[in-house]
């Protein structure tokens, strides 16, 4: 079982969980009424994008895949982040 605990995948999971808890902490209401907040939005979108990148690279094993698949998967993630923040910004 130790080999599974001391495994790169488990380390990635621990990091993903830590980012999830941190983003929840940033995004919770704390009793205040929700208002537009670009800082919170950009932070949580960026955190989601970092998590998505790690899932694609390590869990989906795209880091060892052919270049076209890497470019497509990473491109989707980066493109989505740019478009989401762009639409938010313009709105």
């Amino acid at each position: 079982m130790g080999s599974y605990l001391n495994n790169r995948l488990t380390h990635v999971w621990a990091f993903l969980t830590a980012i999830t808890v941190a983003s929840w902490w940033i995004g919770q209401s704390r009793g205040a009424t929700f208002q537009l907040d670009a800082m919170v939005t950009l932070t949580v979108l960026l955190m989601a994008s970092v998590k998505a990148q790690l899932v694609i690279q390590y869990f989906m094993e795209v880091r060892s895949a052919p270049r076209w698949l890497k470019q497509t998967a990473y491109g989707w993630n980066i493109g989505l982040l740019l478009l989401l923040t762009g639409v938010y910004w313009l709105g």
Binding site: N7, T17, L45, L69, L84, G91
Partner: protein
């Protein structure tokens, strides 16, 4: 003759060591499906953001009624399930069949928690009259988390087939296991974005 033998050895190498650069995790057809699904969900995500900017107050007000804690727990549940699938896939490659069955079993337990949590999240909202017709936020919320839930349920069925293959086949089909695994990770991946858009952003 030696060329034929080499090509066979090469094929076996690629199949059993997907870590090799240039190797393909899972079947290419599954990747085409995944890329298509990512593009469709991506279009919905962007549409959500565009409609949100038209009436941010309505979206923010409805979003406030969401339970961010449940959203975070759902995220950790899926990430944990994904970890067990990834470790289980490694175990199959290493021919550790008993380990892989345990790991995929744990993945299914965590995966099955997700729909249960979703039902407990949806029911009180629907009972309180917060239905898809109330406003655009709730329409997007139910449609997109509903579509995602359908993917989770399909993923659980796929993981069941993967486990059956590991259990019954004399030599588990590594490529089949990987194919099921990447589908499950995509389900996890989509939820990461849904969590940020429907629960966390302002």
């Amino acid at each position: 003759m030696s060329n034929t033998l080499e090509s066979v050895v090469h094929k076996v190498d690629v199949r059993e060591q997907p870590q090799v650069v240039g190797a393909f995790p899972g079947q290419p057809s599954m990747w085409f499906f995944i890329i298509g699904d990512l593009l469709i969900f991506g279009a919905y995500f962007i549409a959500y953001m565009a409609y949100r900017s038209q009436e941010p107050d309505v979206f923010l007000q409805s979003q406030q009624a969401m339970n961010q804690g449940v959203g975070a727990i759902n995220t950790i549940v899926l990430l944990t399930s994904s970890l067990f699938v990834a470790l289980g896939t490694e175990a199959v490659r290493a021919q550790k069949i008993r380990d892989s069955l345990r790991l995929f079993g744990l993945a299914m337990v965590f995966g099955a928690l997700f729909p249960v949590l979703k039902i407990f999240e949806w029911l009180p909202k629907i009972e309180a009259g917060h239905t898809p017709g109330e406003n655009l936020y709730l329409m997007f919320y139910y449609v997109m988390t509903g579509l995602h839930l359908f993917h989770v349920l399909l993923g659980l069925v796929i993981l069941g087939f993967v486990m059956r293959n590991i259990k019954t086949a004399a030599n588990p089909d590594v490529r089949f296991v990987e194919t099921g695994a990447i589908y499950w990770h995509m389900v996890d991946l989509l939820w990461l974005v849904l969590f940020a858009l429907f629960y966390l952003m302002r």
